[in-house]
């Protein structure tokens, strides 16, 4: 034995050199978890394409321009597309101004008092209310109100649009408020320092700076409204297979349907032909919502600024 060395060898645990099996297994498991979602999305889209694309091959745009029918060879989604488009317009007109104004109030005007906190908590909770419950609100308030005004049974595209507008309002408020909060306060202070009023600061400095974020939020909210089904079913958007002959006036005051409601109706039918039609309608709906979502994400990535 030689004299003890001054240099102490590091303990084994620090010197580890072998392959870290546990670490690799863990990383692999995590990656699998992540890939699961991608795989599900791929299988979902693939299965719908394989069943639905033949419908488009056989019938082309005829599927998009035909009315509902109990004959699967003739049935199309034209009424659903018109209904969904009208719903989107009503939702945009009602929810966006109120939502953005609420966000401006919460972020720029309200003192941090009890009332502002109440509104804040209230909006958070509204965002978590299941969509089917909004259907009940639509049923008692909007359908009841329109029926009371003497317009048939009140189950029209207007009550449907108002219900969806209420449904996405919290989403619009939360995303707009986040976008406004991300604008640095230096911008505000500079505006006030130049003698601008609060509204001038909001209108000319804050809103332009927050616009991309607000736009992203509103597009996502619209995409959510396009795909919502449960509240529409509660307030009467499912029509079975009868067709509404369409003057424009009848569209607003008469019965209506929407693309997701048609999907629900067809999905329940046992005939094989309707299963293919369901997939074809799903392709249309997915195309619309995925394009809207992708546009929103791209918009955010393109215009998001680091302050």
């Amino acid at each position: 034995m030689s004299a003890p060395s001054i240099v102490v060898a590091p303990p084994r645990s620090v010197r580890r050199q072998g392959i870290d099996v546990a670490g690799l297994v863990f990383a692999g498991a995590l990656l699998l978890a992540l890939l699961f979602s991608l795989a599900v999305l791929a299988v979902l889209v693939g299965s719908q394409l394989s069943k639905g694309l033949p419908v488009f091959v056989d019938r082309g745009v005829d599927f998009l321009t035909s009315d509902l029918s109990s004959n699967p060879a003739k049935a199309g989604v034209a009424q659903g597309l018109i209904g969904t488009a009208m719903l989107v317009v009503i939702v945009a007109i009602c929810a966006f101004p109120i939502g953005i104004m609420t966000a401006i109030y919460l972020e720029e005007y309200s003192a941090n008092n009890r009332f502002a906190r109440l509104i804040d908590i209230n909006i958070r909770n509204l965002a978590g209310v299941p969509s089917v419950v909004y259907g009940i609100l639509g049923l008692t308030v909007f359908v009841g109100l329109l029926a009371g005004l003497g317009d048939g049974n009140g189950k029209t595209v207007i009550s449907g649009g108002l219900t969806l507008a209420v449904l996405i309002l919290p989403l619009v408020i939360i995303t707009s408020a986040e976008a406004i909060r991300a604008v640095p306060s230096a911008l505000r202070e500079a505006g006030f320092g130049l003698g601008a009023s609060r509204w001038q600061v909001v209108r000319q400095l804050i809103l332009p700076a927050a616009a991309p974020g607000i736009l992203t939020g509103t597009v996502l909210a619209l995409s959510r409204a396009i795909g919502e089904t449960a509240p529409l079913i509660l307030i009467g958007a499912v029509l079975g297979s009868f067709s509404t002959a369409g003057q424009l006036g009848d569209l607003v005051t008469g019965p209506y349907t929407a693309l997701p409601a048609i999907i629900y109706d067809w999905a329940k039918r046992p005939q094989q032909e309707f299963q293919a039609l369901t997939s074809a309608a799903i392709i249309v709906l997915l195309a619309v919502t995925i394009i809207a979502n992708a546009a929103a994400v791209l918009l955010r990535n393109r215009y998001s600024r680091q302050w």
Binding site: S13, V14, D20, G23, F26, A27, A29, L30, L31, L32, A33, L34, F36, S37, V40, L41, L44, S47, I98, M101, T102, I104, Y105, L106, Y109, S110, I119, R124, N125, L126, G128, V129, P130, S131, V132, V133, G135, I136, L137, T140, L169, R198, W199, L220, R224, G227, E228, T229, A230, I233, L234, P260, I263, Y264, A267, Q275, I282, L286, N293, V297
Partner: protein
């Protein structure tokens, strides 16, 4: 000019009367918009409560403990729909909790910025898939290719397929809230752990996850709330369009809170007017509203705890 005749600088800075009036009007309009959200909440609560009370006053208490949920026959078994809902929620969480949390750990601790940039948008697209689409997928793909392939006795409509579908819909929610919580953990904690010789696995599991536990718990609670409220997947894939007997069997059809509501509005249970069967819709809505509200308040409390911690 003497100092005495000059108006105080504060009052001059407040602007002319005209300008102040305009500003006041704008503030009032914005406030009115904010009040709309309160009115919506009040509207939801009122529209649920009155009809639900009317429902309870029309039926005998024993009808709430019948053999099953058959609204047209006056059988309103609460336990049937509650157990159905819980089966779906448990299955959904069995899918969404591990996969959502695993994805979150990977995205927060392992993924390069490039991978994150690709995977995050895909998760967001999955979150944007309409639930009626997932319902059809659960019924026509998951049920035959997964559930019936594993369990030979399973029916075409079954709670298990519905639960898996709901779970898939909740994965992005779990992943995004958990990831936010883990990214909020300061890098100093990770560096300290690595400095003590821990490797990535140990750092992730023993340091980052415990530090982010409030946010992760919040993600799970909010996911349960979402799963309970999810409607279209259950309405299509769980299959009990005409009521259901009390069942614990996830391999057969069953009824849930939300599924029963859709059945009442559009399925074979469809009824209208001020009958007890129609008003049971509002009673179910009230139960659902209270359950999700309770979970959301709890989840929000946990989310706030994470934010305050560091």
């Amino acid at each position: 000019m003497t100092a005495a005749s000059t108006p105080a600088p504060g009052s001059r800075l407040r602007g002319t009367a005209n300008r102040r009036r305009n500003e006041g009007a704008i503030r009032a309009v914005l406030l009115a918009a904010a009040v709309v959200s309160i009115l919506i909440s009040v509207g939801i609560v009122l529209s649920l409560i009155f009809e639900a009370i009317s429902f309870l006053s029309q039926i005998q208490l024993s009808q709430l403990f019948a053999d099953g949920w058959f609204p047209r026959r006056g059988q309103f078994s609460i336990s049937t729909v509650v157990v159905g809902t819980m089966i779906v929620a448990v299955v959904a969480m069995a899918i969404a909790a591990p996969i959502g949390l695993g994805s979150a750990i990977y995205l927060s601790e392992y993924a390069s910025p490039r991978v994150r940039g690709i995977v995050k948008p895909v998760l967001e697209i999955l979150a944007g898939v309409p639930s009626v689409v997932l319902g059809f997928f659960a019924l026509t793909w998951i049920s035959p290719n997964v559930v019936q392939a594993i369990f030979t006795g399973a029916k075409g409509f079954n709670l298990l397929a519905a639960g898996i579908g709901v779970g898939i819909l909740t994965i992005p929610l779990v992943a995004s809230i958990s990831e936010d919580a883990m990214r909020a953990v300061p890098a100093a904690l990770r560096e300290a752990s690595v400095g003590l010789g821990a490797r990535k696995l140990r750092t992730s599991v023993r340091v980052v996850v415990p530090a982010a536990i409030s946010g992760i718990v919040a993600a799970m609670i909010l996911a349960v709330s979402r799963a309970i409220g999810e409607t279209m997947v259950v309405a299509l894939a769980a299959g009990a369009t005409a009521g259901s007997l009390f069942t614990f069997n996830p391999l057969g059809p069953g009824q849930t809170l939300t599924g029963a509501m859709v059945s009442l509005a559009a399925g074979s249970d469809q009824v209208t007017g001020a009958t007890a069967a129609f008003q049971s819709l509002f009673f179910l809505g009230l139960l659902l509203f209270l359950a999700t509200l309770g979970l959301n308040v709890l989840g929000d409390a946990f989310v706030r705890r994470t934010r305050q911690k560091y």
